[in-house]
Symmetry: C2
Subunit: 110 residues, 2 copies
Amino acid sequence: MCRTRAVLDIVGDKWALLVVRMLKDGPLRFTELKRAIDGISQRMLTVTLRDLERDGILTRTVRNVMPPHVSYELTPTGRTLREAAAPLLEWSLENLPHIEAARAAYDSRG
Amino acid sequence: MCRTRAVLDIVGDKWALLVVRMLKDGPLRFTELKRAIDGISQRMLTVTLRDLERDGILTRTVRNVMPPHVSYELTPTGRTLREAAAPLLEWSLENLPHIEAARAAYDSRG
Protein backbone atom coordinates (compact mmCIF):
# COMPACT_ATOMS: atom_id res chain seq x y z
CA MET A 1 0.00 0.00 0.00
CA CYS A 2 1.36 3.35 -1.04
CA ARG A 3 1.20 5.47 2.11
CA THR A 4 1.38 8.78 0.31
CA ARG A 5 -1.66 7.87 -1.67
CA ALA A 6 -3.62 7.08 1.49
CA VAL A 7 -3.15 10.61 2.76
CA LEU A 8 -3.59 12.23 -0.62
CA ASP A 9 -7.10 10.81 -0.55
CA ILE A 10 -7.59 13.44 2.12
CA VAL A 11 -5.43 16.35 1.15
CA GLY A 12 -5.09 15.85 -2.61
CA ASP A 13 -8.58 17.17 -2.89
CA LYS A 14 -9.40 20.56 -4.29
CA TRP A 15 -12.24 21.32 -1.90
CA ALA A 16 -10.36 20.18 1.19
CA LEU A 17 -7.40 22.41 0.27
CA LEU A 18 -9.69 25.38 -0.31
CA VAL A 19 -11.51 24.89 3.01
CA VAL A 20 -8.21 24.67 4.88
CA ARG A 21 -6.99 27.81 3.14
CA MET A 22 -10.17 29.75 4.03
CA LEU A 23 -9.75 28.92 7.71
CA LYS A 24 -6.22 30.31 7.93
CA ASP A 25 -7.28 33.52 9.72
CA GLY A 26 -9.51 31.84 12.30
CA PRO A 27 -12.86 30.10 12.67
CA LEU A 28 -15.67 30.53 10.17
CA ARG A 29 -19.30 29.48 10.07
CA PHE A 30 -20.75 27.14 7.47
CA THR A 31 -22.48 29.96 5.60
CA GLU A 32 -19.29 32.03 5.56
CA LEU A 33 -17.33 29.11 4.07
CA LYS A 34 -20.06 28.44 1.54
CA ARG A 35 -19.94 32.06 0.40
CA ALA A 36 -16.12 32.17 0.29
CA ILE A 37 -15.63 29.03 -1.79
CA ASP A 38 -16.96 29.74 -5.22
CA GLY A 39 -18.84 26.84 -6.77
CA ILE A 40 -18.98 24.45 -3.82
CA SER A 41 -22.35 22.82 -3.24
CA GLN A 42 -24.02 22.58 0.18
CA ARG A 43 -23.59 18.82 0.09
CA MET A 44 -19.92 18.90 -1.00
CA LEU A 45 -19.09 21.41 1.73
CA THR A 46 -20.89 19.28 4.35
CA VAL A 47 -19.00 16.14 3.27
CA THR A 48 -15.64 17.94 3.07
CA LEU A 49 -16.05 19.47 6.55
CA ARG A 50 -17.05 16.15 8.08
CA ASP A 51 -14.08 14.35 6.50
CA LEU A 52 -11.67 17.06 7.69
CA GLU A 53 -13.13 16.87 11.21
CA ARG A 54 -12.78 13.09 11.19
CA ASP A 55 -9.16 13.41 10.07
CA GLY A 56 -8.34 15.81 12.90
CA ILE A 57 -7.73 18.76 10.56
CA LEU A 58 -10.47 20.95 11.98
CA THR A 59 -12.86 21.12 14.91
CA ARG A 60 -16.57 21.80 14.77
CA THR A 61 -18.02 23.89 17.58
CA VAL A 62 -21.74 24.27 18.21
CA ARG A 63 -22.96 27.20 20.30
CA ASN A 64 -26.42 26.82 21.78
CA VAL A 65 -27.77 30.20 20.84
CA MET A 66 -30.75 31.00 18.65
CA PRO A 67 -30.24 30.38 15.80
CA PRO A 68 -27.61 27.71 16.59
CA HIS A 69 -24.12 28.84 15.69
CA VAL A 70 -21.77 26.22 14.21
CA SER A 71 -18.20 27.17 13.46
CA TYR A 72 -15.11 25.41 12.10
CA GLU A 73 -11.53 26.02 13.12
CA LEU A 74 -8.18 24.47 12.18
CA THR A 75 -6.52 22.22 14.75
CA PRO A 76 -2.72 22.46 15.25
CA THR A 77 -2.40 19.62 12.71
CA GLY A 78 -4.68 21.55 10.37
CA ARG A 79 -2.47 24.61 10.66
CA THR A 80 0.59 22.59 9.62
CA LEU A 81 -1.39 21.29 6.65
CA ARG A 82 -2.27 24.85 5.69
CA GLU A 83 1.40 25.78 5.71
CA ALA A 84 2.37 22.71 3.68
CA ALA A 85 -0.34 23.40 1.10
CA ALA A 86 0.48 27.10 0.72
CA PRO A 87 3.24 26.68 -1.91
CA LEU A 88 0.95 24.58 -4.10
CA LEU A 89 -1.82 27.17 -3.86
CA GLU A 90 0.61 29.99 -4.66
CA TRP A 91 1.99 28.03 -7.59
CA SER A 92 -1.55 27.54 -8.85
CA LEU A 93 -2.27 31.25 -8.84
CA GLU A 94 1.05 32.16 -10.46
CA ASN A 95 0.80 29.55 -13.18
CA LEU A 96 -2.80 29.86 -14.25
CA PRO A 97 -1.88 32.04 -17.28
CA HIS A 98 0.81 29.57 -18.43
CA ILE A 99 -1.56 26.68 -18.08
CA GLU A 100 -4.34 28.40 -19.95
CA ALA A 101 -1.89 29.23 -22.76
CA ALA A 102 -0.61 25.66 -22.86
CA ARG A 103 -4.17 24.34 -23.10
CA ALA A 104 -5.05 26.68 -25.92
CA ALA A 105 -1.91 25.65 -27.84
CA TYR A 106 -2.61 21.95 -27.25
CA ASP A 107 -6.23 22.24 -28.34
CA SER A 108 -5.32 24.20 -31.47
CA ARG A 109 -3.00 21.37 -32.53
CA GLY A 110 -6.20 19.29 -32.68
CA MET B 1 -14.70 32.82 -10.99
CA CYS B 2 -12.29 31.70 -8.31
CA ARG B 3 -8.93 31.47 -10.08
CA THR B 4 -7.33 29.23 -7.49
CA ARG B 5 -10.06 26.71 -7.98
CA ALA B 6 -9.51 26.67 -11.74
CA VAL B 7 -5.94 25.54 -11.27
CA LEU B 8 -6.72 23.21 -8.41
CA ASP B 9 -8.84 21.30 -10.88
CA ILE B 10 -5.48 20.36 -12.32
CA VAL B 11 -3.11 20.11 -9.42
CA GLY B 12 -5.50 19.42 -6.54
CA ASP B 13 -5.74 15.93 -7.84
CA LYS B 14 -4.16 12.97 -6.13
CA TRP B 15 -3.11 11.16 -9.29
CA ALA B 16 -1.67 14.25 -10.95
CA LEU B 17 0.45 14.99 -7.88
CA LEU B 18 1.70 11.41 -7.74
CA VAL B 19 2.62 11.37 -11.44
CA VAL B 20 4.52 14.64 -11.07
CA ARG B 21 6.34 13.26 -8.05
CA MET B 22 7.34 10.07 -9.87
CA LEU B 23 8.89 12.06 -12.71
CA LYS B 24 11.18 14.09 -10.44
CA ASP B 25 14.32 12.11 -11.35
CA GLY B 26 13.77 12.15 -15.12
CA PRO B 27 11.59 10.65 -17.85
CA LEU B 28 9.64 7.44 -17.36
CA ARG B 29 7.68 5.19 -19.68
CA PHE B 30 3.98 4.51 -19.26
CA THR B 31 4.54 1.02 -17.89
CA GLU B 32 7.10 2.33 -15.39
CA LEU B 33 4.66 4.94 -14.13
CA LYS B 34 1.87 2.38 -13.92
CA ARG B 35 4.07 0.11 -11.81
CA ALA B 36 5.27 2.95 -9.57
CA ILE B 37 1.85 4.37 -8.73
CA ASP B 38 0.06 1.82 -6.65
CA GLY B 39 -3.62 1.47 -7.44
CA ILE B 40 -3.86 3.65 -10.55
CA SER B 41 -5.82 2.12 -13.42
CA GLN B 42 -4.63 2.10 -17.03
CA ARG B 43 -7.44 4.45 -17.95
CA MET B 44 -6.84 6.89 -15.05
CA LEU B 45 -3.13 7.05 -15.84
CA THR B 46 -3.87 7.70 -19.53
CA VAL B 47 -6.29 10.53 -18.69
CA THR B 48 -3.97 12.04 -16.07
CA LEU B 49 -0.99 12.03 -18.45
CA ARG B 50 -3.00 13.59 -21.26
CA ASP B 51 -4.34 16.34 -18.98
CA LEU B 52 -0.85 17.09 -17.66
CA GLU B 53 0.52 17.23 -21.21
CA ARG B 54 -2.30 19.57 -22.22
CA ASP B 55 -1.54 21.80 -19.25
CA GLY B 56 2.13 22.06 -20.17
CA ILE B 57 3.30 20.13 -17.07
CA LEU B 58 4.91 17.29 -18.98
CA THR B 59 5.93 16.32 -22.49
CA ARG B 60 5.23 13.05 -24.23
CA THR B 61 7.95 11.70 -26.51
CA VAL B 62 7.42 8.86 -28.95
CA ARG B 63 10.47 7.02 -30.27
CA ASN B 64 9.93 5.06 -33.45
CA VAL B 65 11.60 1.87 -32.39
CA MET B 66 10.08 -1.58 -32.12
CA PRO B 67 8.16 -1.80 -29.88
CA PRO B 68 7.35 1.95 -29.88
CA HIS B 69 8.81 3.71 -26.87
CA VAL B 70 6.70 6.45 -25.27
CA SER B 71 8.12 8.42 -22.38
CA TYR B 72 6.98 11.29 -20.22
CA GLU B 73 9.12 14.07 -18.78
CA LEU B 74 8.45 17.18 -16.68
CA THR B 75 8.66 20.53 -18.45
CA PRO B 76 10.31 23.48 -16.64
CA THR B 77 6.80 24.45 -15.44
CA GLY B 78 6.27 20.87 -14.30
CA ARG B 79 9.47 20.98 -12.30
CA THR B 80 8.29 24.09 -10.45
CA LEU B 81 5.01 22.30 -9.72
CA ARG B 82 6.94 19.36 -8.33
CA GLU B 83 8.80 21.68 -5.98
CA ALA B 84 5.61 23.44 -4.90
CA ALA B 85 3.86 20.14 -4.21
CA ALA B 86 6.74 18.60 -2.26
CA PRO B 87 5.81 20.10 1.15
CA LEU B 88 2.26 18.77 0.85
CA LEU B 89 3.53 15.30 -0.04
CA GLU B 90 6.00 15.36 2.86
CA TRP B 91 3.27 16.54 5.21
CA SER B 92 1.11 13.66 4.04
CA LEU B 93 3.74 11.07 4.85
CA GLU B 94 4.57 12.60 8.23
CA ASN B 95 0.96 12.95 9.31
CA LEU B 96 -0.52 9.67 8.21
CA PRO B 97 -0.27 8.19 11.75
CA HIS B 98 -1.98 11.24 13.32
CA ILE B 99 -4.73 11.12 10.77
CA GLU B 100 -5.32 7.43 11.22
CA ALA B 101 -5.49 7.95 15.00
CA ALA B 102 -7.90 10.87 14.60
CA ARG B 103 -10.15 8.77 12.38
CA ALA B 104 -10.20 5.87 14.81
CA ALA B 105 -11.10 8.22 17.67
CA TYR B 106 -13.83 9.91 15.63
CA ASP B 107 -15.33 6.63 14.54
CA SER B 108 -15.31 5.21 18.08
CA ARG B 109 -17.36 8.21 19.25
CA GLY B 110 -20.04 6.84 16.91
